[in-house]
Amino acid sequence: MFGFVLRRVALIVPTFVGVTLLAFALIHLIPGDPVENLSGERGMDPERRARLLHEFGLDRPLAVQYASYVGQVLRGDLGSSLTTHESVAREFATLFPATVELAFFALLFAVVVGLPAGILAAVKRNTAADYTVMGLSLTGYSMPIFWWALLLILFFSVQLGWTPVSGRIAVQYDVPMTTGFMLIDTLRAGDMAAFRSALSHLILPTIALGTIPLAVIARMTRSSMLEVLREDYVRAARAKGLPRWRVIVVHALRNALIPVITVVGLQVGLLLSGAILTETIFSWPGVGNWLIHGVQSRDYPVVQGGILLIAAIVITVNLIVDMLYGVINPRIRHA
């Protein structure tokens, strides 16, 4: 196990180089100019323009810019935003809890609904239940997030008035942010009304962001379960006269979970990218919303730093998932 972890950690080095290079190249490849972006129709005083280019280090050759960026990152400095002049790391740290909170609930929603739905579809194969689950999950999977999110807002918030439209909490609650997680902070403040408000603000974004992972998990669980249910040991368990639920949950599900867990792990990357759209529409003050604005204003340090930090998180989560296999199925051992 230790060797396995060590080898995976060693892989981080080339991944880091790849991610920084890719983020750097992509943001520089798209047309646009961060300094030009700071002015509108008026245009910019040439002297101010030259000063800004110099202070941002954008007057140097690209290779030099990249090298100095990597050096800076290795020293633990992600630079400052070109628009707000705030430290990228600090902005990320302020906004990241909101994204984690949303992604956590979206994943929870996807697993809590997706897993039983997949099991149900597998057990009741070729029945109305199966077709319903599979039909809905295909629909969910094909749904463009922004459209789905707007639909949810228009129906639940505007038509029915059940949920708030957007934001993390109603504006009348000014809860001191200590952890950055709204649910925790409202509980710490002991304000139940604020907690309920925060919870109600989570509902629609959770559904919007969780729908695609839910569909993926449901389909994966179904196919994996179907395979396992055909195995000899399942037939043997049944023949022994074990109760049906015990065969499904203990004998079949545990083995069917391995590919499902891989998929759940991969969803983390998907959730963070899906958060970009979801957060923009729901005015959710997280890193997705921040990153898309960074791209629009060609805020190079924000985009590069944001992508790097998100990549680091995805890599870590996948490493943890790989280690979890061994826990779920002791037959898998990491040499």
Partner: protein, 541 residues
């Protein structure tokens, strides 16, 4: 293991919790107005930045200028200066300052004195003097408007005559100077506050936690979520009627509209033109509208053939059906432009005759210019929606079809928005769509940056048109003290622009601010800011 009954109980409790969460939020605290704004400010400092979003969040609610625009007009009225005099040569402006104006306070700062001349000099020299101790703290911090408007070339020095008198000495007579002083970048900061923060070793704090003299005090900011303000009890014009002001930052226009409908906000910024009709039908909403202080136009690069020929420019003017553009692109929310400045601006020449839509005459002019069979050209169109032009592509297609009728084949081209502006400055364009939103209500603010000879060098004059008689008029107008005399000069200048036709003046758009019925006393601003100084909320039943 829970028994089935216990399980049912727990499930029931969970469902109840979920339901109670679904119940709509309780009504807002009395006197809290929520404004759904379109984005986060770049920072809380009125001098560094140049976007309307930042001004709306910083200089508008929290700061004052020596003089200001009367809300809803571009009339200049006294603010922190009670009165002012201009020397006969137009080069010296003396301001008498208002007494008893209080600054805000916060946890780290309690002002010990009222606003005075020291604050005026501090605010100015922080921008103007490179060696000022507060001039520069961080990389990338620049004084956007001060630099871009070339204030250094206009103002020679600012002097304190006594505690309540300051004198601005200009390098040349400059009549628009007073209007410049009403702009956001000329907001007055507290010298005492900055010095106190420097003493504490946190000079940056003064730019992050703003202290001004404006109607609202800063409370808190959660990035990309909310900005909170409270009414400033000691505001020199009297306390605002509402107690709290909250900006709920909502980038998506559809979500802003939805929040307005559900009552999560009272006023929203920048509605989508497509939503306006539905908004008008909603009995809970009011739509205010105001003629925009703007112009959308197509500029011909007069340095390039065949646009160096006036007849060609006139022919293309005649061949463009503006009424059709107004209907299709602006959906009626605008008016056809015949001058480079909008009719709400003083100095507008209503006697100017616009080119009618007349393809036959256009063809004649083209033949006269030696292009009987037309020609091929590039037409650049706007890649983004701008206040003065909701849909550049659609406009380009209509123009292309119009010109086709007189044999001119336009190839439509565009670039990413920053790239578009950058390229336009190099003179690469043959003809391009562009526009302008005025920010100080002086005609000079349109003519000089857009059509003046200096602006050819700077790149703001994308027609690259430099006309001696026109230039003489606008320079003379800038140096003439009296508004009535200036207006006459600008009127003449507009006649020349129409005749020479460096542009096709397309439209002045109309702006809209949707708000809920319970909002009282809201007035739209001429320069597209959002003021809540005089707003009140009706008591809800």
């Amino acid at each position: 293991m829970p028994t089935p009954d216990q399980f049912r109980l727990r499930a029931g409790a969970l469902a109840a919790l979920a339901l109670s969460a679904l119940v709509a939020a309780p009504a807002l605290a009395k006197g809290t107005l929520v404004y759904c704004s379109e984005g986060s400010p770049e920072g809380f400092q009125p001098q560094f930045f140049s976007t309307g979003t930042t001004f709306d969040a910083v200089s508008v609610p929290m700061f004052n200028r020596l003089v200001e625009f009367e809300i809803g007009t571009t009339n200049i009225v006294p603010a922190l200066a009670e009165s002012w005099t201009v020397s006969p040569d137009g080069k010296t402006y003396t301001f008498k300052l208002r007494k008893g104006v209080k600054f805000h306070s916060n946890a780290n700062f309690k002002p010990s004195r009222d606003f005075n001349a020291d604050d005026v000099l501090f605010s100015w020299y922080r921008m103007a003097d490179d060696n000022h101790p507060f001039h520069k703290f961080t990389a990338g911090q620049t004084y956007a408007y001060f630099d871009d408007m070339g204030m250094k070339n206009i103002v020679d020095k600012v002097e304190k005559i006594d505690d309540y008198t300051v004198r601005y000495a200009l390098k040349r007579p400059e009549a628009p100077f007073l209007a410049d002083m009403a702009m956001d970048f000329a907001s007055i900061l507290s010298k005492e506050y900055f010095e106190a923060m420097l003493k504490k070793g946190t000079p940056n704090a003064a730019d992050v936690y703003p202290i001004g003299t404006g109607p609202f005090e800063f409370v808190s900011y959660q990035k990309d979520a909310t900005i909170r303000y409270k009414a400033f009890d000691k505001h020199w014009k009297g306390r605002p009627k509402i107690d709290n002001l909250v900006y709920s930052i909502t980038r998506d226009a559809t979500a802003r509209y939805a929040k307005l409908k559900t009552g999560e906000c009272h006023v929203m910024a920048f509605p989508k033109p497509a939503d306006l009709d539905e908004m008008r039908k909603d009995p809970q909403l009011t739509i205010q509208q105001k003629e925009g202080l703007n112009i959308g136009y197509v500029a011909f690069n007069v340095e390039k053939k065949p646009f160096d020929n006036k007849l060609v420019r006139q022919a293309l003017n005649l061949a463009t059906n503006k009424e059709a553009i107004l209907k299709a692109v602006y959906q009626g929310n605008g008016q056809v432009a015949k001058n480079p400045i909008p009719p709400i601006l003083w100095g507008y020449n209503n006697a100017v005759q616009d080119y009618p839509y007349d393809p036959v005459k256009a063809k004649q002019l083209l033949a006269q210019a030696g292009y009987a069979n037309g020609f091929e050209m590039d037409l650049w169109y706007l890649p983004v929606t701008r206040p003065y032009n909701p849909d550049g592509k659609r406009m380009a297609e209509l123009i292309q079809a119009d010109w086709e009728k007189i044999g001119v084949k336009a190839k439509l081209i565009t670039y990413e928005w920053a790239e578009y502006r950058k390229r336009s400055k190099t003179g690469e364009q043959a003809a391009m769509m562009f526009g302008w939103s005025g920010d100080n209500g002086d005609p000079d603010n349109f003519f000089v940056p857009l059509l003046g000879c200096e602006a050819v060098k700077g790149g703001g004059n994308v027609a690259r048109w430099c006309n001696k008689p026109f230039e003489d008029l606008i320079i003379k107008a800038a140096q003439t003290p009296k508004q009535v005399d200036r207006a006459k000069l600008y009127e003449q200048a507009q006649v020349i622009v129409k005749e020479e036709a460096p542009w096709i003046t397309i439209a002045h758009s109309v702006r809209f601010d949707p708000l809920r019925k319970e909002v009282l006393g809201y007035k739209m601003d001429a320069t597209a800011h959002h003021y809540f100084n005089n707003v009140d909320l009706a008591k809800q039943p």
